[in-house]
């Protein structure tokens, strides 16, 4: 499986994603500039955290007009795995690949800490290695992570099991329904505010995020095997 980590002007967790995949998971991963137009040789796409375009205007609002975006939209439409964390999540909502929006935290402050989460849906390409309702903890680091969608959309998210991660215990930002991460209806696009890529090594004190990447790599094996079969 070949994975693209997209770099926008102002992305800054691109290294974190890359290293988690390359060094820790030994996956085949490449940086792809926002200027590129094609994702042809890739099997999965990841949008990193950071401050694309300084988060001026709204987080992710300007990045969604990048050259690479149409290719990402097309990629998602084909049912291939697309993942966004933090700013990546914000870009995916701004681009309409995921419903809803991310507002400023209720505290009005940036918050960097480790939070408890419940894995709500293990039937996605990113969560198959977690147990149903498993409690994990992951770092968050954002100022605008309060998930908002109107009631109708929220009801649909709940009904379709599109909510993949929920804050357990303290809700750190005011997200509706304690939402920390969601997929699109088809389940191949995941956006989440927490940073699994920061929790993949014992040296840094947390390995709970590793299985997001392991799940993806495993799902890749399955599809390749299926194709070979």
């Amino acid at each position: 499986m070949k994975i693209a980590v997209v770099v926008f002007p102002g992305s800054n967790c691109d290294v974190d994603l890359f290293e988690a995949l390359h060094t820790v998971c030994q996956a085949d991963v490449e940086y792809v500039s926002h200027k590129e137009k094609s994702l042809e040789s890739f099997d999965a796409v990841m949008l990193p955290g950071g401050f694309s375009y300084g988060d001026y205007l709204r987080c992710g609002a300007i990045a969604r007009f990048s050259n690479i975006m149409p290719a990402i939209v097309e990629f998602a439409k084909q049912g291939k795995p697309v993942f966004g964390t933090c700013n990546g999540f914000q870009i995916l909502t701004e681009a309409g690949l995921l419903p809803g929006a991310l507002k400023q935290n209720n505290s009005l402050k940036f918050v960097c800490k480790t939070v408890d989460l419940t894995v709500e849906n293990t039937k996605t390409p990113f969560t198959s290695q977690y147990g149903e309702k498993e409690q994990i903890s992951l770092p968050i680091a954002h100022a605008d992570g309060s998930y908002y969608a109107d009631q109708e959309t929220l009801a649909k998210l709940e009904e379709n099991h599109q909510i993949v991660f929920r804050y357990a215990g303290e809700n750190p930002n005011g997200s509706l329904n304690d939402i920390a991460g969601i997929t699109n209806e088809a389940g191949n696009v995941l956006g989440m505010m927490p940073h699994p890529e920061r929790a993949v090594e014992a040296l840094l004190g947390n390995e709970d995020g590793l299985r997001v990447f392991k799940s993806l790599l495993e799902s890749g094996k399955n599809t390749i095997e299926e194709a070979a079969f």
Binding site: P9, G10, S11, N12, C13, V15, D16, E19, A20, T23, G49, G50, F51, Y53, G54, D55, Y56, K109, F110, V111, C112, K113, P139, A141, A143, H195, E197, R198, V200, E201, L203, L204, G205
Partner: protein, 744 residues
């Protein structure tokens, strides 16, 4: 400040506007008569006034700074460049420097702090290094009034706002509170970078005909006279300072950093020299680059990218617009550089050339607006000898008996102590900093030093920033010693060998002989410890005139220190890890209450004299402990500072899920709060105890055992008490959030 309003040289001589810009009459006359042989024009007078300010010239502090040792086998670049560089083996080097932004932050706390961070980051990547961590050192007034709370909120938000957006983790720092900083908070920032040794760059413009290129943000009228402003005492007259406010654009700086790192890392053949535009903008960067290379320079100001219309030469040269760099590019590669920067959405423009000789020539709108020797701006600055006198408070306190606290209820005293803002948890601030981005932070804010791993190696770096103005105020020499010892102790406790240090020297008005004496004595104290520990000073910054309406701050040297961890898996934190481990106190405890937190808490002020320190034996003890840690026989280590042993024991228990039974029967409860420097609390698992004692000998005393009952149980000579760890932690964590919420 339109061009037509500019005064003629004669008018300048007569009406002396330069005095307001910070130049003295004596200096002006020296410049006209000795250096130029004519009167300087308006633009030239402006250039002199900023380049001869203390901030750019160090004319007052230079004689004192010469005391600092700045060499060791490892030092690759000492003071004199954007930042100092130290060899860490494997062809790699660590690069670091600290910078103060006190005065800008007093006026506009958010942008002042943010642009301080932006400036120090540029210093690091201008050396060819990738910034990997930020630390800060913040000193505010007491948290009992709305203005101080506003300053705190805005400064902290500014530091986080810039660092978070840049993707550089803010991993450590310090925050203290004392009345003397009320009108003049100290906002110091330190940046640490890492590089391959063959990527090292210098701020140098040499090679006749080579291009001087300007990259980054456009020049506006912001921050004109920022450098002189930083060098003068300021009163409450805010109106005139408002124009000096610069706004930071971290997004622009992120692009600038990536572009510059591509240039320094991959196109060394194009590049001759690089320097950031900090204080005094284009003038300081360009003339320093020429001066260091012994070149002349000619700049055409019409080519400088400008944000506002009708800017005069004076304004263009003195502007302190942020996020700009100056490059010297080998002739013939201008187009390549332009296109590299364009790829990042940035402008790179040739604004001049390196010339022969020593002339600094500026042209604007077809006229020569400046033609002076380069060295007149950099080398020829008159050093100002300063008078020194021993302040009366010192000679008085030498004769008095030192205060010793009378503890009625040790448990209650500890509870109150944990809630003192200087002791209490700073999480409410540090959790607004992204301390983990780049996924190399092994230990973030909260322990003695921050620890980062170095990717691709087994090594790690530990780093800390420390300052204790109270001790320096009571005895500058010993206070200076303590400042460096304290920083080194933080690194040792993390398992790191201290390599070198940087500093920010924050003092009052140096024209006051007592303040100059404080500066001099404290630098002597710091230097002595640097020599003994072999931690040379490789970079730093001086911030004088820290006064508000005539009242000086405590003399507050900030020490930033970086250490090397041989094997990252052997790093330690201050938290106890295993029940049954034996707890030792390393170092002896004396009646050191002068300048302590307990004195401040119980008497409302600080007083007394400091006990002198045997620096050599401190150093021996430090290195013995480091050896024990490197041998893997220590389980946790915590150096003791504000609040003394009692606070240190409590902190070692926080979030550990453990307890401690301490037997201190040789100590009266007052000594629990003594702040004797150079002490550590360490825990050692039973199988290592024998080896540990063998190594540490008399320098360690067993004081108790880690338990599972989540209680801090202390028995001393005069009393015995229990404190639930959960309760103690709650007091410690909630103190500052609670103060920050108050409404008066």
């Amino acid at each position: 400040m339109a061009i037509k309003a500019e005064m003629s040289p004669k008018e300048i001589k007569e009406t002396k506007p330069y005095i307001e810009w910070g130049l003295t009459e004596k200096e002006f006359d020296f410049i006209s008569e000795q250096l130029l042989g004519r009167l300087p024009n308006y633009t030239e007078t402006g250039l002199f006034s900023v380049m001869w300010s203390e901030h750019c010239s160090y004319k007052k502090s230079k004689p004192v700074l010469r005391e600092f040792p700045n060499r060791s086998k490892r030092v690759l670049q000492g003071p004199g460049e954007g930042a100092g560089i130290v060899d860490i083996g494997d062809g790699q080097a660590v690069v670091f420097k600290a910078e103060s932004h006190n005065h800008p932050s007093a006026v506009e706390p958010y942008e002042g702090a943010a642009t301080g961070v932006g400036g120090i980051i540029r210093d690091i990547f201008s050396m060819g290094a990738r910034p990997i961590a930020m630390l800060d050192s913040l000193h505010f007034g007491e948290v009992d009034n709305a203005h101080t709370r506003y300053l705190i909120n805005e400064v902290v938000a500014g530091i986080g706002g810039y660092g978070n957006c840049m993707g550089i983790p803010t991993v450590g720092g310090e925050t203290t509170f004392d009345e003397c900083y009320t009108g003049n908070p100290l906002v110091n920032a330190m940046c640490v970078g890492i590089m391959d040794q063959n990527d090292m760059q210098k701020g140098r413009a040499k090679g006749v005909g080579n291009a001087v290129m300007y990259v980054g943000a456009k020049t506006g009228r912001d921050g004109i006279h920022g450098a002189t402003f930083a060098s003068a005492d300021f009163a409450d007259d805010k109106e005139t300072q408002r124009s000096a406010v610069q706004v930071g654009d971290p997004f622009m700086e992120k692009l600038l950093m990536e572009a510059c790192l591509e240039l320094t890392g991959q196109h060394k053949d194009w590049l001759v020299g690089i320097q950031d535009m900090g204080a005094a903008g284009i003038v300081s960067s360009s003339c320093e680059m020429a001066s260091k290379a012994g070149s002349g320079m000619e700049l055409i100001l019409d080519y400088v990218p400008q944000r506002e219309p009708e800017m005069s030469a004076y304004e263009i040269m003195l502007s302190e617009s942020q996020e700009r760099m100056l490059l010297c590019i080998r002739a013939g590669f201008e187009e390549e550089v332009r296109s590299l920067f364009k790829d990042y959405g940035l402008e790179a423009v040739v604004i001049g050339r390196v010339t022969e000789g020593n002339d600094y020539v500026l042209k604007h709108k077809g006229e020569i607006v400046t033609n002076i020797p380069v060295s007149s701006l950099t080398e020829d600055v008159l050093e100002e000898p300063s008078e020194e006198t021993n302040p009366e408070r010192i000679s008085v306190s030498e004769k008095l008996n030192n205060w010793v606290p009378d503890i009625l209820d040790a448990r209650e005293t500890l509870g109150k102590m944990l809630a003192q803002p200087t002791v209490a948890s700073k999480k409410i601030f540090t959790q607004t900093y992204d301390s983990q981005v780049r996924t190399s932070t092994v230990v973030g804010p909260g322990s003695d030093a921050a620890v980062l791993r170095i990717r691709g190696t087994k090594k790690g770096l530990a780093m800390t920033s420390d300052g204790n103005g109270r001790f320096v105020y009571l005895n500058p020499l010993i206070g200076g010693q303590i400042a460096v010892l304290e920083a080194a102790a933080n690194l040792i406790a993390s398992g790191a060998l201290p390599l070198a240090m940087t500093d920010c020297l924050n003092y009052g008005d140096p024209n006051d002989p007592e303040i100059y004496w404080e500066l001099h004595k404290s630098v002597l104290g710091m230097s002595e410890v640097c020599r003994v520990l072999n931690t040379p000073v490789i970079s730093g910054n001086v911030s004088l005139y820290n006064e508000n309406n005539g009242e000086a701050i405590y003399p507050t040297p900030m020490v930033g220190m970086v250490g090397l961890i041989k094997n990252i898996n052997g790093y330690l934190t201050n938290t106890f890890r295993k029940s049954g481990a034996k707890v030792f106190l390393v170092g002896e405890t004396f009646a050191d209450f002068a300048g302590s937190e307990i004195q401040k808490m119980m008497t409302g002020k600080i007083s007394g004299n400091l006990r002198s320190i045997n620096v050599n034996s401190e150093s021996e003890k430090f290195f013995k402990l480091l050896k024990a840690i490197e041998l893997g026989i220590v389980d946790s280590a915590h150096d003791l500072s504000e609040g003394g042993l009692a606070v240190g024991l409590a902190e070692s228990l926080f979030s550990s899920g453990l307890g401690l039974k301490a037997n201190l029967t040789t100590m009266s409860s007052a000594f629990l709060f003594s702040e004797t420097p150079g002490r550590f609390v360490v825990s050692v698992v039973p199988e290592n105890v024998e080896n540990f004692i063998e190594l540490m000998k008399d320098d360690c005393t067993e004081i108790g055992e880690v338990t599972t009952n989540r209680k801090l149980q202390i028995k001393c000579q005069d009393t015995e008490f229990d404190f639930s760890v959960e309760e103690a932690q709650k007091v410690w964590e909630e103190a500052i959030p609670c103060l920050m919420k108050s409404k008066d």
